[in-house]
């Protein structure tokens, strides 16, 4: 995390160029592909990182190091050289060194991008613990992770901010309610009946070999609840085997926002 002349702005109230060291004093940073001195052990690395922030008795520094090792579950590997660490262990060490100073803001760049499922799970668990005490600002393309550990989401497209909101607000943000129906049988007539209803906005159809799934967006939730299934099954040709209000995933919101942006431009 290095700021350059020509860039401008503030972070935590400090100028990013003139007061860069003051910012780095208060911020923890983990790069996407963190690099450390390979010959050092995890304990030595954390000790080295801690001494950039703290002076004081060796025992106090060691306590801080042990605390960081415990946080990321590397106590058992604390005295092994980093050159033997797996990707997940490096990432955990990266988080430990980034938060060694109890930063006001912890910036993580794709913290789980290159990890196997177990490594990813470990990193997300650590982030869950850390978010109790520190603001974590992280970038990722793994939207499942975002949904699991984030409070607020900002979506960027080609460097431009296109949405920013608490995650719950973003997930519930669509003014249209959508119901999902899973059916078997002949659905053509039912489709025609539904499209004639004024409270139906759109119907997205997914035809599978053994069933058909509709996502029906409505603008009158109460009427839809009362009439939707009845309308579909009115002719007896359709058997509804699943019905419920669609739960939006962040991926849906992301795709929708990016597509909207594409159409707008």
């Amino acid at each position: 995390m290095v700021f350059y002349k020509g860039e401008s702005g503030t972070l935590l109230g400090y100028d990013i160029v003139r007061e860069s060291i003051a910012i780095r004093q208060r911020v923890g940073y983990l790069a996407q592909d963190p690099r450390f001195y390979e010959q050092m052990t995890a304990r030595e690395t954390l000790r080295f990182a801690a001494r950039f922030f703290y002076a004081g008795p060796t025992a106090a520094i060691e306590d801080r190091v042990v605390e960081a090792l415990d946080l990321v579950g590397l106590t058992g590997k604390a005295d092994r050289p980093i050159r033997g660490f797996s990707g997940g262990e490096r990432q955990r060490l990266g988080i430990a060194q980034a938060q060694i100073n109890h930063p006001d803001v912890l910036i993580l760049d794709e913290p789980a991008a290159s990890l196997d499922p177990l490594g990813r799970r470990d990193v997300l668990e650590i982030m869950q613990r850390l978010r109790q005490s520190t603001t974590i600002f992280y970038s990722t393309h793994l939207l499942d992770d975002v949904q699991r550990v984030s409070d607020r989401v900002a979506i960027l497209k080609q460097g431009e901010l296109i949405a920013q909101a608490p995650i719950d607000a973003l997930l519930a943000g669509s003014d249209k309610v959508t119901y999902e129906l899973t059916m078997q049988g002949e659905t053509q007539a039912a489709y025609t009946r539904l499209t004639q209803q004024p409270w139906v906005s759109t119907i997205k159809v997914e035809a599978l070999p053994d069933r058909t799934i509709w996502q029906v967006a409505v603008n009158d939730e109460r009427t839809a609840q009362a009439q939707l299934v009845a309308l579909v099954t009115a002719d007896g040709l359709v058997n509804v085997i699943g019905f419920g209000r669609k739960q939006y995933e962040l991926e849906d919101i992301f795709v929708s926002l990016v597509e909207e942006k594409n159409h707008a431009s």
Partner: protein, 259 residues
């Protein structure tokens, strides 16, 4: 940000920010491993071994053919030979040791990591000079002690401090110059080969100046032995100024480096 028990924020400010920690880390790479002991053995073997062979060969020659100039004693010529050997080999050693210190960290990504901490770039660069005390001890001091012993065994003379210090000063300033020159090239170049290549070229050219005619080296040695320090002192000052200028430019260049 919360403090942890008796921990207190570090009080380094400005360009010194992070220097002590980085200096300790770099020193530990030298003194905390077997590296220093390997260097003691390597340089004693290389410098004192070669010096011993040359001394032995010269002593076999007729007395009138032992020195290239009549004004220089065999004792003085011995010291001259040791000085030249040391200048060449320790210069090359300094270049080899320094060539990866900046570029290696830039390429491996560790420089970017360290600089994400509250560390000044000046401190990052200056900390590389933590190698110098170890290099001076293992590449110069210890070989000098052995060389004195070798010279005494052959000539039955021990150089006085007034002779030794200017010669040592010449060697120290040369080593420091080539170390700083290589650091500078490390901030300018992207590859180790180019960095080391340019530094070695400068080393060869400078030593060629001394070796080809023998005039400069022998004049300096004779001046030193006769107690006239003006010319050697000028060379030492020039080399140290050169080292300082290299370091200054390196710091300025490194401040603009993007990672």
């Amino acid at each position: 940000m919360q403090a942890n028990g008796t921990l207190r924020p570090t009080n380094e400010r400005g360009w010194r920010r992070g220097l002590a920690n980085l200096w300790y880390k770099e020193s530990h790479l030298w003194w905390g491993t077997w590296q220093w002991l390997i260097h003691v053995g390597l340089w004693a073997f290389l410098l004192n071994g070669l010096y011993g062979i040359v001394l032995f060969a010269v002593i076999q020659a007729p007395a009138e053919a032992r020195t290239p100039e009549p004004g220089l004693t065999f004792f003085g010529f011995g010291l001259f030979l040791f000085t030249i050997l040391t200048l060449i080999f320790t210069g090359a050693g300094a270049i080899i040791l320094a060539q990866g210190t900046i570029i290696g960290e830039k390429q491996s990504g560790t420089a970017a990591w360290v600089l994400s901490k509250p560390v000044s770039r000046t401190a990052f660069l200056l900390a590389k000079c933590a190698y110098l005390p170890g290099m001076l001890l293992t590449m110069l001091m210890i070989p000098w002690i052995v060389a004195i012993l070798e010279t005494w065994l052959v000539t039955r003379q021990i150089p006085s401090l007034t002779i030794m210090l200017p010669l040592l000063g010449w060697q120290v300033s040369s080593l420091v110059f080539f170390f700083c020159l290589t650091l500078l090239l490390g901030t300018l170049c992207r590859g180790r080969t180019l960095t080391a290549g340019i530094s070695l070229l400068v080393l060869v050219l400078l030593n060629q100046l001394v070796m080809s005619t023998l005039k400069v080296g022998i004049t300096m040695t004779r001046d030193i032995i006769s107690g006239q320090f003006l010319f050697p002192l000028q060379v030492i000052i020039a080399l140290l100024c050169g080292a300082g200028i290299c370091l200054f430019i390196a710091i300025k260049r490194f401040e603009r480096e993007e990672f």
